[in-house]
């Protein structure tokens, strides 16, 4: 039985189609990603899974139960990390973990050692008695993740877990999430960072305007929707647009961005040699492997981050 089973899942706010009839399954132990730009409907989907947002139509089962009719029971096995931290600012760091556990009906005898263990896991042991407002952004994020683990969830929902964190904090967090995955926790991650999706997700859906535009593993998506390599050329912001038609035939396809041209090709160096041989003189060049960012760009004609 899949952990999550969504069919024609739909949520409208007035005339905004936040989630527009999506279907997906998540298997137990899988790391599943929702990748898409701001406003794609990722957070709304997450809230519907937790039963804190009521769907407009469609069906949704989490561990075989409908979160709308069995919210408390569904959430007993869920860990939720929302997009914006909602720690209890009237309680101190450790009390945040303990009180949150109390909401699950867990006893203090279990929660006291658990809170200490989770503080260590989140590298916050020294901050146990600190007021939440005095913690840095990264610490709050880690505390929020620790809090989501207090009931030992089998499914962890992470809504943009590393947005706003510096690179070092992001890597610490990815490491922690990886350990949870190894421990068998099903991870559901939303992100608009392609590197995060590539790092964390076994399989993902690419969302845009509330719809699924592609589904597969990161490698699979890149293979299907992009070429092996990308040649990035910069001619200066005025000239980039003028050269689009001249350069198109050097690659399988070309995507113009305001600051650079992306040429999709199996062999970036070879394409670059041909471009140069014909007398074009880019200011800077870069050959790199395709990423999920390119998948999104080629599927929608837009960047993930605007």
């Amino acid at each position: 039985m899949p952990v999550i089973e969504a069919r024609a899942l739909t949520k409208t706010y007035g005339d905004v189609h936040a989630v527009d009839g999506i279907d997906f399954d998540v298997a137990s132990g899988e790391s599943f990603g929702l990748l898409g730009p701001n406003g794609a409907g990722k957070s709304t989907t997450m809230r519907m899974i937790g039963g804190t947002s009521l769907r407009t139509s469609g069906t949704l089962l989490v561990n075989g139960l409908d979160p709308e009719t069995h919210g408390p029971e569904v959430r007993a096995n869920l860990g939720v990390v929302p997009q914006t931290d909602n720690l209890d600012t009237e309680l101190r760091a450790r009390d945040n973990l303990i009180m949150y556990g109390r909401y699950f009906g867990l006893p203090y005898s279990y929660l006291r050692p658990k809170a200490d263990e989770l503080l260590a896991f989140a590298q916050l042991t020294e901050k146990a008695g600190e007021k939440v407002d005095n913690l840095s952004g990264g610490m709050k994020r880690r505390l929020t993740i620790a809090r989501a683990l207090v009931n030992e969830p089998t499914v962890l929902l992470l809504d943009e877990p590393t947005t706003g964190l510096d690179p070092q904090a992001r890597h610490i967090l990815w490491d922690r999430l990886f350990r949870l995955k190894e421990a068998g926790v099903t991870l559901i991650v939303t992100t608009h960072f392609m590197d995060e999706a590539e790092q964390l997700c076994d399989r993902l859906i690419v969302m845009d305007h509330g719809k699924i535009v592609a589904e597969g593993s990161p490698a699979d998506l890149i293979r299907r929707f992009s070429t092996r390599e990308v040649l990035e050329l910069r001619f200066g912001s005025e000239r980039n647009a003028e050269l689009v038609d001249d350069l198109r035939h050097y690659a399988d396809s070309l995507e113009p961005l305001p600051d650079r041209l992306l040429l999709y090709t199996e062999d970036g160096e070879a394409a670059l040699a041909r471009v140069r041989a014909d007398g074009h003189t880019p200011m800077t060049t870069l050959v790199r492997r395709s990423s999920l960012e390119d998948v999104f760009l080629r599927l929608t004609g837009r960047s993930l981050i605007d």
């Binding site: 919210g71 408390p72 029971e73 007993a76 909401y103």
Partner: protein
Amino acid sequence: MTAPARTLDVRRSRSGGLPGWFAANSSGNTATVIERGFKVIRNQNWIIIVSGFFEPVFYLLSMGLGLGALVGTVAGPGGAPISYAAFIAPALLATSAMNGAIYDSTWNVFFKLRFAKLYEGMLATSLGPFDVAAGEIFMALFRGFLYALGFMGVITAMGLVTSWWALAMVPVALLIALGFASLGMAITSYFSTFQQMDWINIALLPMFMFSSTLFPITVFPQAVQWFIMALPLWHGVELMRQLSVGHFEASTWVHLGYFLVMSVLGVAFTTRRLRSLFLR
């Protein structure tokens, strides 16, 4: 450092056996919301707590003693003359029960819902909307109970109560608070901006001014009197006033009944609006 060990053998999803509506809206863990409330009160700055108690006391001192010196005695329940301070003291208790309950169930709920996101955190656990609403209303009533007790002490010390019936003013203050809190929470579910929240204050202030709190409503034309008598605060004020001197008449039951009905309707209304308030 490895992933946190799994030590939780027995999953406590107490909602498992609950039927229908409760399975969707409650885990049976309502008491933990109250537990948090008490923990926060313990940690809180005591000045914040006692400030709510002083407000009606200051009114009583300035209006009751100050204005009272000009007014002298007025006709109390049943027509017996009482001091002006003794006239307004029960009204102030009813008003502060109303204000505290409304503040907690509207502004406070609105803020915790939209800005502090406290309820968002709670509702990500096995708590349901019913648990959060019931726990918060309980905490509002508990604060109301503390203030009512304190105010009772003050007016008793000032010699403004003349009957043992005045002790009943404390539970009646809670009933008034329940009526307003349950209605307030339901109304908050329709609001999404601070401007809309302001309407609540715009409605409350005139109700305080005209509900025979500071002077009898007999000064108004009959039609205006009927209007005031339809509003809840007037019933609360009259009921408290009768209790303070231990004078009862048929209207006592009307006042009491008004709040019993208001509380039942308010709780039913809030229950219906729970999902619109907390789940969106």
